[in-house]
């Protein structure tokens, strides 16, 4: 973990190389967990696509492109933050990386195993290494099970402990997530939202996984409780060297937790880089607008904000879309943006951006926005 700062970044670009051996390992049918060495890429996503059929009559079968051509890697012990608005494909990526959905194209490698090539049994074994933390702690827990059974279940399913050990294992888990020991005989409804989320997290880390996908784990919680859960996430990462895929629409949370950040829009990654790249040196017009839109705490006097607000809402991504995904809302879009899909290119040091005009400065954008609103007013 020496080149820590670079580690997240340096592993971003080199996608197809060096995966041949691991690929082979997976094909021979052994679930091989590659240990040690320098900051390895625990999770590798390559050209991932996921389409959903929306049905329809005969030839009119419509396809929703939930995820298109997404590639990134996550180094062990690091946090990859995925931000984007509703419908941008964040959660689909979460499901794909856990093997809960099969990709339409591309592949997902976790600890050197291509998820698509694993048998059911192998996938199940690998699931010990990768666990989800879901958004809604109210529906994630079975209301008819006691905490003892909820937290004991992973050990039983994966046969890693016998019954006599269970009690103490569950108690250790409760202690780990700062819940009282006597919680063991209670039911989920006897806990508050924050405590329930602690239970969900305890269940996720029960088998000491290496990779945790947290999909909007805070959005159902109150602000003061959110901070407690964030601290818990950080503590667990420190203790077990956990690797997180942290999915959230909340920019400040992602900024706080992530080492590497990916920004999604309509199923595509539009920007990818280290936290500082994305938050201090945003180069895609959408990232800029997203940052400008997020309400900052502090008054306007304290936080000088540029008005960089977008018009309209994100459209749905259906088949037959051409050009840049952001073209309908982008203030600087030109004819080229409607014809050509911009390449996902490196601006240097693995700061990747998908925009013909990147890097785009805030000044250029705000001027373009001003011009647009002036035009809109004259039309009225």
């Amino acid at each position: 973990m020496n080149e820590a700062e670079g580690a997240g970044g340096s592993s971003l670009g080199d996608l197809p190389t060096n995966s041949g051996r691991q690929h082979l390992a997976a094909r021979t049918g052994r679930v091989e967990v590659i240990e040690g060495k320098k900051p390895e890429d625990l999770v590798k996503v390559e050209n991932l696509c996921k389409n959903y059929s929306l049905g329809g009559f005969r030839s009119k079968n419509r396809v929703l492109r939930a995820v298109s051509d997404v590639s990134f890697t996550i180094s062990a012990g690091r946090t990859f933050g995925l931000v984007g608005e509703t419908g941008s494909g964040k959660s689909t990526i979460g499901k794909l990386t856990l093997g809960l959905e099969t990709p339409s194209w591309g592949r997902v490698m976790v600890a050197g195993n291509d998820l698509a090539l694993l048998s059911k049994k192998e996938l199940r074994d690998l699931r010990r290494e990768m666990q989800p933390v879901s958004q809604d702690p109210y529906s994630a827990l079975n209301g008819r099970m006691r905490v003892r059974d909820i937290l004991g279940e992973p050990f039983i399913i994966h046969k890693t402990a016998d019954k006599r050990e269970l009690h103490s294992l569950v108690q250790d888990l409760l202690e780990l997530v700062d819940l009282p020991k006597d919680a063991i005989d209670r039911f989920p409804h006897q806990f508050s939202g924050g405590q329930r989320q602690r239970l969900v997290i305890a269940r996720a880390v029960a088998l000491r996984p290496r990779f945790v996908v947290a999909d909007e784990p805070l959005s159902a919680l109150d602000v003061s409780v959110q901070a407690q859960i964030i601290n818990l996430f950080k503590k667990l990462q420190r203790e077990f060297n956990l690797t997180y895929l942290f999915i959230s629409h909340d920019l400040s949370v992602v900024r706080y937790l992530s080492d590497v950040v990916g920004v999604m829009y309509l199923g595509r990654l539009v920007e990818l880089g280290t936290r500082d790249d994305v938050f201090s040196d945003a180069s895609h017009p959408y990232t800029q607008a997203l940052l400008a839109s997020a309400p900052a705490v502090g008054t306007k006097k304290l936080v000088e904000k540029r008005r960089l607000h977008l018009y309209g809402d994100p459209p749905a991504v259906l088949d037959g879309f051409s050009g840049c995904v952001f073209n309908s809302r982008c203030p600087i879009a030109e004819s080229r943006c409607f014809e050509q899909t911009p390449e996902f290119r490196d601006l240097g040091e693995n700061h990747m951006v998908a925009c013909h005009f990147a890097p785009v400065s805030v000044d250029v954008l705000s001027k373009a926005v001003e011009r647009r609103s002036a035009k809109a007013e004259s039309q009225d």
């Binding site: 997020a294 309400p295 705490v297 502090g298 309209g312 809402d313």
Partner: protein, 350 residues
């Protein structure tokens, strides 16, 4: 427009629009009445945007519902008054309240999909408000609705007029809701979490719109939200609620710089805007959680979670006291100034 200036300006002329005074509300549960709001007081000046913040279960929405007279059957006002433009509205009958709702107080709710009738074209829904309050005639009403749609920034008003709610996006639906709320030109808008269901880029548009309405029409807004960021974007003054009580109220800049109530300080510390410095530090948190209805302690409601608590906090409810211009705090041992600064570097300098 600087929000702070706006608020001081309105205060100076003492143009009060809404005055909530010592409002208490009780819920009847199985024959027993449990207090859910106690002695809530705040006011709203003409053209002022007042943010009401707090966590879920703090009584924010209930306060809003009490103002517009939409409390449920088992909920009633047990004390205090609500005065709108000099008229006491808390004691009006439901028939009289009906006339006020929509015409003098407009409402915007959180879920535009739930609040709109899915079987009715949106144009007709907005027009309905005009019909109910007998504004204009058949011809002028349609023109007025189209005018409203333009005002709230709905693209292509004529097309929208004929569409159903499901054909609109979330942001557009919220704009329709706002158009509906503005239809009868009310002096006061009550917005209950108007942007919670929306994406950030759309949220920014709606907040812009609220500010624009205030500036152009001089409408006052009570903005109920859990999001400190939203408040700091648009509000002039902030009312912080906890467990059914107002614990602090102050102009927005004053609150963000000099919050005195330990709960406000904790709430601001837990929220991290763009200003936080290091990611390695632990986030400051408030331990525990909001008490539920019926388990609010008899002393200060925040006492069990408060680090500053002293003996008197357990036994007696703290009275509201003025600690600065328009700055009111209900606390026996408020955070001393200068406290650690929330923004900028100086955590260590106190």
């Amino acid at each position: 427009m600087q929000p702070l200036e706006a608020s001081t300006m309105f205060k100076a002329t003492n143009d009060l629009l809404l005055d909530v005074d010592e409002l208490s509300v009780g819920v009847n549960v199985a024959g027993r009445e449990i207090g859910v709001l106690s002695n809530v007081s705040f006011n709203v000046g003409k053209g002022e945007i007042v943010g009401v913040v707090g966590e879920s279960g703090c009584g924010k929405s209930l306060t809003a519902l009490a103002i517009i007279g939409l409390l449920g059957d088992n909920v009633r006002i047990t004390g205090g008054t609500i005065t709108l433009d000099g008229e006491r509205i808390s004691s009006l009958s439901s028939t009289q309240m009906r006339k006020i709702r929509g015409s003098r107080i407009g409402m915007i709710f959180q879920e535009p999909m739930v609040a709109l009738n899915p079987l009715m074209r949106v144009g007709r829904q907005v027009k309905e408000v005009l019909v109910i309050h007998a504004i204009g005639n058949r011809k002028s009403r349609k023109a007025r609705v189209l005018e409203l749609f333009r005002q709230v920034g709905l693209p292509d008003p004529k097309l929208r007029y004929r569409q159903f709610p499901h054909q609109l996006s979330g942001g557009m639906r919220q704009r329709v809701m706002i158009a509906m709320a503005l239809a009868a030109e009310p002096k006061l808008l009550i917005a209950d979490e108007p942007t919670t269901a929306l994406d950030v880029t759309v949220q920014a548009q709606i907040l812009d719109l609220l500010e624009d309405i205030r500036t152009r029409l001089g409408t006052s807004v009570v903005l109920v939200t859990h999001d400190m960021g939203v408040v700091s974007e648009v509000a002039d003054r902030v009312v912080v609620m906890y467990a059914g009580q107002v614990v602090e109220s102050a102009p927005v800049a004053e609150l963000f710089e000099n919050a005195r109530h330990p709960y406000s300080v904790g709430l601001l510390g837990s929220v991290f805007g763009s200003n936080f410095e290091e990611s390695s530090d632990e986030l400051p948190t408030i331990s525990g959680r909001v008490p539920s209805i019926g388990e609010v302690p008899s002393g200060c409601p925040f006492e069990p979670r408060c680090e500053n608590a002293i003996d008197v906090c357990r036994s007696d409810r703290p009275p509201a006291a003025s600690v600065g211009t328009n700055h009111i705090v209900a606390c026996w041992s408020p955070v001393e100034l200068p406290r650690m600064r929330l923004f900028g570097k100086g955590v260590e300098s106190s």
